[in-house]
Point group: C2
Chain length 230, copies 2
């Protein structure tokens, strides 16, 4: 009877029913040549946990993920990408959405010219690489004039002045919320199962206790469900 | 009785019994700052397969591996490292050895100065990174005057002129054998389960048919066992 009661009212415990949530996760990889690349230590654990939590809350979820060692979450449409440009294209293709959560650690820069063959050690010594800026996925989506998701959430991976940097990022990117976490060495945030985050919005900052990435995901999804409903 | 027979003569099927084999595997990661790094697409599958095959052939095996998504092979002393310098230090610590097989895809270069904090996107545009050469693990070990392993084997990951480049590498590094494989896009060598290799030594070149990385490992270990015994 309890189960029938829940099934009779799909909104119970499913505050995101009928909503489309787009989540990005993991690192990106930017090619240097056919064998080398630049990446970062993001494991995708936090982003994947958010995708799972949003699906559990009843949302249709599209997860756009860079290369990670995690299984695709059950019940989540998962799109695998490598570079920042691939990720932006996949996000654009996934829109429209009610909520977008950009948890991926996207490379800020890519190598200006990807070598067609493997760069060789030569008499000239190490190569010098020049870089160009990657598209800014968070700002691109947050500043859309048509088709902007109702809630746009960014992540900030900082090693110092975590909250100040997150406040500046919130203003610069035009998003509604920044989830700021401290990834300095010793925190074990990159790759670990625990996370301590600061939720930064125009109204102020809220610091959550150190908890599992799954718990952070559930709390964040609850917060987003309340905001999108109000 | 069959088992007793085998146990009575441990050399049967164990041509590397009593030998110490050092194998490197996987990519290295070279830090740019606390969150970013440069790496390559090596999966470690070939190197790990060689370590397993050498152990199955009776050797005591030390596997020095960069970050891979593979389990440590059973019965193999496995040392996990990140950077090329870490890998050289672990190899030096593992010597002396009868055979050394350097299957890792070691970064040729590292960033000259690792940033202590995360590099920020600034008004100045993308950073310019300058690089310095990493130690050459293969050449360092192959050119040892004291304590050089009896057989030193290098790998060459090439995208063009595979055999010519391998011949040049053999001479330049001072090793006994180069296992050259074609990693151009489309070959699926990096990350895949199959490999087509050319065995290059002072006497010439032998091209093996495309086969599983496990089969390459077994054939290579047989070849090394014959050479070390002769």
């Amino acid at each position: 009877a309890a189960i029938e009661g829940l099934m009779a009212d799909p909104a119970v415990g499913r505050p995101l029913a009928g909503r489309h949530v787009v989540v990005t996760s993991g690192p990106t990889r930017e090619a240097i040549d056919p064998v080398r690349y630049i990446s970062n230590h993001s494991s995708g654990k936090q982003g994947h946990a958010i995708a799972r939590a949003a699906a559990a809350a009843g949302a249709r979820v599209t997860l756009v993920t860079g290369p990670v060692a995690l299984a695709d979450p059950v019940g989540v449409a998962t799109v695998h990408v490598e570079s920042a440009r691939d990720m932006l294209a996949a996000v654009e293709a996934a829109l429209p959405a009610d909520v977008a959560v950009f948890a991926a650690a996207v490379a800020d820069w890519r190598v200006a010219e990807i070598a067609g063959g493997k760069l060789k050690k030569g008499a000239g010594g190490p190569p010098s690489l020049s870089f160009v800026e990657n598209p800014d996925i968070l700002a691109t989506v947050a500043k859309k004039t048509a088709g902007r998701p109702g809630l746009v959430v960014g992540f900030a991976a900082e090693t110092e002045a975590v909250v100040d940097n997150a406040r500046a990022k919130l203003a610069r990117k035009g998003c509604d919320l920044i989830v700021a976490n401290d990834v300095s060495s010793g925190t074990d945030t990159f790759g670990g199962d625990m996370n301590r985050v600061h939720i930064v919005d125009a109204a102020g900052v809220e610091t959550w206790e150190r908890q599992s990435k799954d718990a952070v995901a559930e709390a964040l999804v609850s917060l987003l469900a309340r905001r999108i409903a109000s």
